[in-house]
């Protein structure tokens, strides 16, 4: 069985190699048969990899410790769903999952387009996708074979690290991978566009859904990571500017820039090269992120097993950057022709330009802070560390600027905005923002940065409300629709625009939550004996007793705390420490989440007489960040939801026509 799984991986490698050769030959000889064979072959790779993934899950579920990987990350008593997460608990399985997802996405891309009349771009797209798959298959066959046998079959597995036994383990890695892998598709289309020297909007339009899909999953992956790190002591809280966290943020920043700048290309035909650069950077940064996390080259609290795989990724990264860079350079003359200029400092397109500069600046600063220690060590031979103060100092003002832009952009017109127009559009949101300042001060917001953040978040909300209101009113007046249906029609007729605005509202919620968490956290430790009550910020915490609970594969020792708010009982919390058979003990925090704040309790330790030390943390507004993520995802769904068939069919016909014209010109 195990040998079969390993053999299937080898078959996939052989098939993938054959696809590359057949594609190159087919393109070179202009022979369609070889290209059709490659399409079929790529589906074969998908089938083979799906089977190996099923094999791996099967080995986990049947506790087959003959597989070294299963023995390393599972044990008999592990709950079933954590056994399944074993697939991505370690490096070998993660890479297998990555390769499988890539083959799935390749399959979908091919299946969607292989019968289109003008699919002349498809061989080029498949070429890039297949080379990437091939890279992973080489790793899986020769560097990190997932089906390697145990040298000595253990009676029981090593078990999953307790820190990984958290719901976060179910959601965080797969969503992050879906995001990373998803960006391979627009990347492959961009490379195809470069190959064909045709950088029109076609590749952007064809990959719009992929881009949004990947962006949504990357966002989810990052937020799930923060949610998890919030619960796991010693991981530095929701966000700690740790290299591994930065690794996921960098492609998020560049892809966010990409999402915005493609709109400019579609509307005005500008920024063609820039868009290619951004998608190339996004893909390269995903690979770079894997290099950082897997090589252990930079100290991180999220220590992954260190291995040489990181350097293989570095090599692949070099190939991507050099070949991508060469393609852009060799096409540059052709690309920059007829690039219209941005006409005014204050216009929608210039605000998109500033948005891109800031997002790029954020990505650069994050990159700089992450790799600076490496540079210093290489040049000067001394070790330094760049901590959160750097990132907070540099990135907070940039994020603030982004929020200000988010508020301004809907108020600006395309091409140029007249001063009259600005005055008229800004009056309502700006004055509401100024009026809200005393309210913010009254509700306890202190300090320059937090005040700015909250005020401008409100500005965004007001400016979006105005936008929705004006659009709805126009329909009511000009089409005589009812207010409610006018609003619904407004949202559904330009899904992309209003989906985007919904995402912005979600982002505002996230910022409100993170600012509350970052600026107004309260933290204090107490020593208590059973029966003691402490007063903390309006809560009365009564320590009842220390309890020991035996669960399947661990023993939890926890302190039962009754929580009262202004005298009323609102619930019990039981922060604990868990002791596992084969692993180190962990601290399990207890959280009471609310709209206004989270009460967060940590049991630090106890003595034989029942005296405990308890850390009480109050995190204002953090749940808004989780809620905002949901809103943002809804916004993305709204924007990608397929529009009515009639419209899309005509649009498709039009696209095919354009494509065929382009093809005619090529030949």
């Amino acid at each position: 069985m195990i040998e079969i799984a390993g053999f299937l991986l080898l078959l996939a490698l052989i098939l993938s190699t054959a696809i590359s050769l057949s594609l190159v030959y087919g393109l070179y000889k202009r022979d369609g048969r070889f290209i059709d064979i490659s399409y079929r072959g790529s589906k074969g790779v998908f089938v083979l990899l799906s089977t190996t993934v099923l094999f791996m899950i099967y080995f986990f579920l049947t506790d087959d410790f003959r597989v070294e990987y299963v023995a390393s990350y599972s044990e008999r008593v592990l709950p079933v769903f954590y056994k399944i997460t074993g697939l991505w608990a370690g490096q070998k399985g993660s890479l297998l999952l990555w390769a499988w997802l890539l083959s799935l996405f390749t399959f979908i891309t091919i299946a969607r387009d292989e019968h289109r009349p003008n699919r002349y771009y498809l061989p080029y797209v498949l070429f890039t996708l297949n080379i990437t798959t091939l890279f992973f298959l080489v790793l899986l066959n020769f560097v990190t074979p997932p089906f390697e046998m145990s040298t000595r079959v253990p009676a029981d597995g090593n078990g999953l690290n307790p820190l990984l036994q958290n719901p976060g383990m179910v959601f965080h890695p797969p969503t992050l991978y879906l995001g990373y892998v998803g960006f391979t598709i627009p990347f492959a289309f961009a490379i195809a566009a470069l190959f064909m020297k045709d950088l029109g909007e076609w590749w952007i339009k064809k990959t719009r859904a992929w881009t949004l899909f990947s962006w949504a999953f990357l966002t989810l992956g990052i937020v799930f990571g923060g949610w998890w790190a919030y619960r796991e002591l010693g991981w530095g809280g929701v966000w700690g500017w740790d290299p591994v966290e930065n690794a996921s943020l960098m492609p998020w920043l560049t892809s966010t820039a990409f999402l915005h700048s493609v709109i400019i290309q579609e509307r005005r035909g500008m920024l063609k090269v820039w868009n290619i650069v951004l998608i190339l950077l996004t893909f390269a940064l995903s690979i770079f992120g894997t290099f950082i996390t897997r090589s252990g080259i930079i100290t991180s609290v999220h220590a992954f097993g260190q291995s040489s795989v990181g350097y293989v990724f570095l090599g692949f990264l070099a190939v991507v950057v050099v070949s991508g860079g060469y393609l852009i350079w060799s096409r540059y003359e052709k690309l920059k022709e007829k690039n219209p200029r941005i006409e005014s400092v204050l216009s929608k397109e210039s605000s998109f330009l500033y948005n891109n500069i800031i997002l790029f600046g954020l990505a650069f600063a994050t990159f700089w802070g992450t790799i600076f220690p490496l540079i210093v060590e290489a040049v000067k031979g001394i070790k330094i560390s760049v901590g959160p103060p750097f990132f907070n100092r540099v990135n907070s003002p940039l994020f603030l600027l982004l929020i200000i832009l988010m508020a301004l952009c809907p108020l600006l017109a395309w091409r140029r905005t007249s001063w009259q127009g600005i005055k008229k559009n800004f009056l309502m949101p700006a004055s509401l923002m100024i009026l809200s300042l005393p309210i913010l001060l009254f509700s306890g917001v202190r300090g320059f940065m937090p005040l700015f953040f909250y005020a401008f978040c409100l500005f965004v909300v007001f400016s979006l409300i105005r936008e929705f209101y004006i659009g709805t009113r126009a329909r009511v007046i000009h089409r005589g629709e009812k207010w409610v249906s006018a609003f619904a029609n407004l949202l559904s007729n330009n899904r992309r625009r209003y989906g985007g605005f919904i995402v912005h509202i979600g982002i505002v919620f996230i910022v409100i939550g993170l600012a509350g968490y970052g600026y107004f956290q309260f933290k204090e430790s107490y020593t208590m004996k059973p029966g003691d009550t402490v007063n903390v910020k309006g809560y009365q915490l009564k320590y009842i007793t220390l309890q020991s609970v035996q669960k399947g594969h661990y023993t939890g020792i926890g302190s039962l705390i009754n929580v009262y708010k202004s005298g009323d009982f609102i619930g019990s919390l039981r922060p604990e420490k868990r002791f596992y058979k084969r692993q180190e003990p962990t601290t399990e925090v207890a959280i009471k989440s609310g709209i206004l704040e989270d009460l967060y309790l940590v049991l630090n330790g106890w003595e034989s007489n029942g005296v405990i030390t308890l850390t009480v943390v109050i995190n204002p507004l953090l749940s808004w960040a989780w809620f905002g993520t949901g809103v943002a995802i809804l916004g993305v769904l709204w924007a990608v939801y397929p529009v009515k068939r009639r419209v899309s069919e005509t649009a498709l016909l039009e696209k095919e026509l354009i494509l065929s014209l382009q093809e005619a010109r090529e030949i």
Partner: protein
């Protein structure tokens, strides 16, 4: 005139950005030293915040539950030099395991000859990997 204003604005933004980076580097970067390296330069570094990496001496761990103060000795990972550390707060998980290395962030108190740590990061070599191959 047309694109000029935009270019000026972009240049101003870039200048502001570089300035921000410089300030950030000044505030946010610190030396990351081994215990022996740090002891050799402690006087010269004075009150500057640094990160010191070393092995936690398990027997020296002393946590006062009344004052919530943790005291322990950080030993050089290779040599024999040792640095007494004080940390206000509860000991992080895994600190009292054998052979744990920790990174203490803080500064040296010259009067009391002790390192005052504001943050403690525990590094466990086996964090997500199995401890002993082929149990």
């Amino acid at each position: 005139m047309k694109g000029k204003k935009v270019i000026i604005l972009v240049v101003v933004m870039l200048a502001a950005f570089s300035y921000l980076l410089l300030i950030g580097m000044k505030e946010g970067s610190m030396y990351y030293l081994e215990v022996s390296e740090y002891l050799a330069r402690a006087r010269e570094l004075g009150n500057r915040k640094v990160r010191v990496n070393g092995r936690v001496v398990k027997e020296s761990l002393d946590f006062n539950t009344k004052t919530l103060t943790l005291r322990f000795i950080l030993k050089d990972t290779k040599g024999n030099e040792s640095l007494p550390v004080v940390y206000h707060g509860s000991p992080p998980d895994l600190l009292n395991q054998d052979g744990v290395t920790a990174v203490a962030e803080g500064h040296y108190d010259l009067k009391n000859n002790v390192f005052i740590a504001r943050q403690l990061l525990v590094k466990c070599p086996s964090k997500y990997e199995r401890k002993d191959k082929g149990v």
